[in-house]
């Protein structure tokens, strides 16, 4: 029976290896070891090769010994007398103390080397300030004075330095942790503390971002998307965003939407040129460019956007935005249409490949 369960383990290990190279069978394929996404991932892969090599060695030796002991020294009932009363063997014990010590010291050396490498700041990195709030993310492009919530647009091949904190330095939130899953490791968003991590995205596509520190009822619903685009597309977006001014609507639905927005939403949310909002609520200026709603939760289409506006606490537990039961369906549609009308023209981030 032990052999059978060992077979099972081997099978699962195999699954683990396969999982490291997942296929592209539809949906989003998250892979923390994606070698094409960043040098960070390649560094981790390089370390894991060593560690897994030693691990395999240790695993084979110990499991082999376990199986051998189980088979060979099983009591048969035919024994005459007691087994040899062996109290130990100093040489052997020194050996199995020293060999693991050497192995872990090698692993320590490799890890240290890698940490120094990853810690070196990249000159000319674009700085993005990341603020974690219950339960959404805010991004500030410090070099450009542009703010965007829950969606991060990055140019491919350009180093970016994330400066991460919980809240905004005046209003404090709980601790979150910022991770772009297939691209770079996590860094905590701690109120009153600024942490940082750097990465150079190398592959164009949509990346999945998550909060990885328990932060409340909707910890699982605190996602974001990263859109890695070509430098040219990024420049168009960032220039458009810097120059953005909300247009005065003429379409009657949009006029109605703006009116309702100013009544119901403007106290908390910001749209450049329309409302200041408050810093602890998502910015809606480029809402029309966003591919998701509810902090990376649902596709940004009316089917999800409208119920979200009307009753977000019903969709996402613990969310700070109140429900608006008094809004009619027409009202909600008008607000949704108004929000979608704000965007940098000529950009579509929804077709990027998913990683």
């Amino acid at each position: 029976m032990l052999q059978r369960s060992l077979g099972l383990i081997v099978l699962l290990m195999l699954g683990l290896v396969l999982a490291a190279e997942p296929g592209q069978a539809g949906g989003h394929t998250l892979n923390i070891l994606d070698r094409d996404a960043s040098a960070f991932n390649r560094e981790v892969r390089g370390l894991l090769v060593w560690v897994m090599g030693f691990a395999a060695l240790v695993f084979v030796v110990v499991t082999g010994a376990l199986v051998y002991v189980t088979v060979k020294f099983r009591r048969t009932g035919k024994e005459t007398g007691e087994p040899e009363q062996m109290h130990g063997n100093d040489r052997l014990e020194v050996a199995w103390t020293v060999i693991p010590t050497v192995i872990v010291l090698i692993i320590f050396g490799l890890t240290a080397q890698s940490m120094f490498k990853l810690d070196r700041p990249t000159p000319g990195a674009m700085v993005v300030e990341v603020r974690g709030w219950q339960f959404w993310w805010d991004f500030h492009y410090k070099d450009y004075g542009v703010r965007n919530s829950n969606e991060l647009i990055l140019p491919v091949g350009k180093p970016v330095r994330f400066e991460i904190t919980g809240g905004d330095g005046t209003n404090y939130d709980v601790i979150h942790s910022f991770r772009i899953t297939s691209m770079v490791g996590a860094r905590d968003a701690i109120p009153g503390v600024v942490t940082h991590i750097e990465v150079t995205p190398e592959k164009i596509g949509t990346y999945y971002g998550q909060c990885v520190e328990l932060c409340g009822a909707s910890h699982a619903n605190m996602r974001f998307r990263v859109k890695v685009v070509s430098q040219e597309e990024f420049d168009r977006w960032i220039e458009g965003a810097r120059a953005f001014q909300a247009a005065t609507p003429t379409d009657p639905t949009l006029v109605r939407g703006q009116e309702l927005y100013k009544q119901q939403c403007a106290a908390c949310h910001a749209i450049k040129g329309v409302s200041q909002g408050a810093p602890n609520n998502p910015d809606l200026t480029f809402f029309g460019n966003r591919t998701t709603v509810g902090a990376g939760m649902w596709p940004n289409v009316p089917e999800y956007l409208e119920p979200w506006i009307k009753n977000s606490p019903g969709m996402k537990p613990g969310v700070k935005m109140p429900a608006f039961p008094n809004l009619s369906d027409e009202d909600v549609k008008a607000i949704a249409a108004y929000l979608m009308s704000h965007k940098v023209e000529g950009l579509d981030f929804s077709k990027l490949e998913k990683f």
Partner: protein
């Protein structure tokens, strides 16, 4: 014995075996309960976007699962449960060093579990994760108050239990049994107790500061006044990483005993195994920050912790290799306990390997708080320590219950657990690589392999639940079949097998030979033909039963409820529950009353002369070990203060500093009282009762004067504190002063609480003096409380230096 008589016996007992049973029953029930919660968690995650446990409800179940498994199963089952039942037997003794303290600690343990679960009746369980990170833990509901209070009480219980074990191993061993002849399990319990005494201060500091932050707004961590939330994590993990070894070492002891018995061989490399135990305990102190690689500490800081983290793998590896050596060449009898040990070795190997992987920091960044971590720690805790808890349960079941268990059901239990475990957790390693974070109540459809792997994991959890049923059948069948267990069913080598199953209340009615050649006395004596000589049981005296330790614990439970229900002044969103003052008052009165009744009840009805190995009394040794933990507690908080002070975050206000002259006056009172206690103690030893009583009274009064002055000082300081707090938004100096005042109230206030506790201790001894219940032979209360009083005095000198002079 009728039912009520049996209950009364349980409430009044101080028999280490019954105390052990209290722990064992509670912790295995806790295992079953939180195992069911785990199944509920897996049920929710069986598929994407399920609605079985959503948001806060999920977080509550998650928190209770973790907290219950850790604080009420895996820590106590091995250490306090088997430790209490088996350790005195292995040492060939009649009881532990401090039997009544031990009974009190056991009830306090039960009640702290009850306290945390009481929150369900007051609006919901804690939902902050068992790690209760600040500031998240400041923002949540009343459940967190119960949780903090429960953690504080279970911490006190652990400390008393650990001090008792340390004193027992130090003072009470069969004549001739040297330290190096103790069974490995005894060493394991001893090392674990040390670890508890040194480390527990971390979680006490963490939970106390969170509780005070919630109740009074006193927080060292609040960024609004320049505090550092990361400091909380340093406190927390200072305990909670060593706690991992508290959760492991007793079980490694069990593994060694089981392997040796069922292989019919001595343990392989006894000294190496002891060195490895102690090595793990020591290095285990230097690895805590590996839980915090993503908080953005400096490279050097991280590297130090990487170094010790990979290093701790070495002694843990040695344990595995030596277990293999023990089995090698033996005649292995694959009964259920040995099967669990084999399962442990395989799973612990996986957990060890993935543990070293997690020390590779860049990889850790990637899998921080992911399912890879979940799989790793279940690998070491559940399939590691947990399996060994069951190895111990089956191994000692005949000794504890006096009955054999059905081997068939034991084996079914093992195989279902092994297979269920692997199917549950191996997919979780893969999920870690595929980016699934832990503590998520839901996940979206359409992420590569997430649905399939999560479903597999849930199937595994169901298999584990079936294993749980097989376990229950094994236990129930054992009682129904009622096969009487012989004294030594497995051919064990240690002294617990040298008495009947179950053992009589006095354990042994024999005098053992005094020759101990190795850690296997029964084996050695048989070879050499040595036999124990019978002793007439009528000449054996045991501690008298008393209900007051139990009542004292009840008092603390009610007090705990009162404090938990009190309004949160630190957080406007949570008001108090009406009637909290009533709970608090009743609890405190009951606590104090019971404590005095306890002190006035003599431990033995017959005069008993104790022989201890060290020559020091049990109370003295017990208190000496307990004091280690107190020093650690002040050490940790003061380290936090020094950090805030040296980084310039906390600066005393120049014009509103608490007055030095008052502190010096108070120093005089306190130092004087230390002298008067010392002389009173001297008088007692020379049987001069009147000067003794006078000396005690003066000491207590000096303590009272100190305390009153401190209240006056605090009243003045709190005004300045509130002023600074209100101005903190505008002025940086006010902000730094507010943080300084916070540290001042926290640490000086904690010292004040110690004056109160120490003064109560003196009052107990004084009451014993007035009632004529203390003399130069029976003076444990005074020995303990006077030593404690000197500690209070010594700490005060530090405090004067760092708060009033610096």
């Amino acid at each position: 014995m009728g039912f009520w008589a049996a209950v009364w016996d349980l409430l009044t007992t101080s028999d280490h075996k019954k105390v052990g049973m209290i722990y064992l029953v509670t912790s295995f029930v806790a295992f079953g309960l939180s195992g069911l919660m785990a199944v509920a968690i897996r049920w929710q995650l069986a598929g994407p976007e399920r609605q079985f446990l959503v948001g806060d409800a999920y977080n509550q179940v998650l928190t209770l699962h973790g907290a219950t498994m850790l604080f009420f199963f895996i820590i106590p089952a091995g250490l306090s449960g088997f430790g209490n039942f088996i350790l005195p037997l292995m040492l060939g003794e009649r009881d532990v060093a401090l039997p009544r303290i031990n009974a009190f600690a056991a009830w306090l343990f039960v009640f702290s579990a009850a306290l945390i679960y009481t929150s369900l009746f007051f609006g919901g369980a804690p939902d902050v994760g068992w790690t209760f990170y600040y500031p998240f833990s400041r923002t949540t509901g009343l459940g967190t108050d119960f949780f903090m209070m429960g953690v504080l009480l279970v911490g006190l219980s652990s400390l008393l239990g650990a001090a008792n074990f340390a004193a027992t191993v130090y003072n009470l061993r069969a004549k001739g049994m040297g330290l190096w002849k103790m069974p490995i399990f005894v060493w394991a319990i001893f090392a674990t107790s040390m670890l508890s005494l040194f480390a527990l201060a971390g979680i006490t500091a963490a939970s106390l500061t969170v509780l005070l932050s919630r109740k009074l707004g006193l927080s060292l961590f609040d960024p609004a006044i320049g505090g550092d939330p990361v400091l909380f994590q340093q406190f927390f993990w200072f305990y909670s990483h060593p706690a991992v070894y508290i959760m492991l070492l007793p079980y490694l002891g069990i593994a060694a005993e089981v392997a040796s018995t069922f292989a019919r061989k001595p343990v392989f490399g006894y000294r190496f195994m002891v060195f490895a135990l102690v090595g793990i305990a020591v290095v285990g102190f230097l690895v805590w920050a590996h839980h915090m690689f993503t908080v953005g500490e400096s490279l050097l800081f991280q590297l130090v912790f990487v170094f010790f983290t990979v290093l701790v793998a070495v002694p843990t590896g040695v344990k595995i290799f030596n277990l293999l050596g023990t089995l090698w060449g033996g005649q292995l009898d694959f009964k259920t306990p040995l099967l669990f040990v084999m399962g442990f070795m395989f799973n612990f190997l996986l957990g060890g390997i993935t543990g070293v992987m997690l020390a590779v920091v860049p990889f850790d960044y990637q899998v921080q708080d992911s399912y890879f971590v979940v799989a790793h720690f279940h690998n070491v805790l559940m399939a590691g320590s947990g399996f060994l808890a069951f190895a111990g349960l089956y191994y000692w079941w005949p000794k504890i219950t006096g009955r054999m268990y059905p081997e068939f059901w034991g084996k079914v239990h093992f195989w279902l657990f092994l297979v269920g475990y692997l199917i549950t957790f191996m997919p979780q390693y893969v999920l870690g690589f595929l980016g699934m974070p832990r503590r998520y109540y839901t996940y979206p459809d359409g992420l590569y392999l997430w649905n399939e792997l999560n479903f597999a994991s849930t199937v595994g959890a169901v298999i584990l639940a079936l294993g749980g049923i097989a376990w229950l059948i094994a236990m129930v069948q054992s009682f129904r079949q009622n096969v009487k267990a012989p004294d030594n069913p497995w051919g064990g080598y240690t002294l617990e097998w040298a008495t009947s199953s179950p053992p009589p209340s006095y354990n042994f009615a024999v005098q053992f030979p005094t020759v101990f050649k190795s850690e296997r006395p029964l084996y050695d004596w048989e070879k050499e033909g040595l036999k124990p000589t019978p002793v007439d049981p009528a000449t054996i005296h045991l501690p008298a039963p008393t209900v007051w330790p139990f009542m004292t614990a009840v008092g603390l439970l009610i007090t705990g409820i009162g404090i938990s229900l009190a309004p949160d002044m630190g957080n406007a969103s949570v008001g108090g529950v009406p009637g909290w003052g009533g709970w608090l008052a009743v609890g405190l009165v009951l606590f104090i009353y019971s404590l005095f009744q306890w002190a006035l009840r003599k431990e033995y009805d017959h005069p008993v002369v104790h022989h201890t190995v060290t020559g020091k009394s049990n109370a003295w040794v017990g208190m000496a070990w307990f004091i280690v933990s107190e020093i650690a507690l002040f050490g940790i908080l003061i380290a936090g203060y020094l950090y805030l002070r040296l980084t310039g975050a906390a600066v005393p206000p120049e014009d509103h500093r608490p007055a030095l002259w008052l502190a010096l006056l108070n120093t005089f009172f306190l130092v004087a009282s230390s002298f008067t206690v010392h002389y009173a103690h001297h008088d007692l030893r020379t049987n001069k009762f009147s000067p003794f009583k006078l000396g005690m009274l003066i000491s207590i009064l000096l303590g009272v004067v100190f305390f009153l002055f401190q209240i006056w000082e605090f009243a003045i300081a709190s005004g300045h504190y509130v002023e600074a707090l209100n101005a903190a938004g505008q002025s940086e100096a006010a902000q730094k002063a507010a943080l300084w005042f916070t540290a001042f109230f926290l640490i000086v206030g904690l010292h004040g609480a110690h004056v109160l506790i120490g003064g109560t201790g003196l009052a107990l001894a004084y009451a014993q003096g007035l009632a004529g219940k203390i003399n130069s032979h029976e003076q444990g209360t005074l020995e303990g409380s006077s030593m404690y009083w000197h500690l209070v005095d010594a700490v005060w000198l530090f405090i004067v230096t760092i708060f009033y002079i610096w």
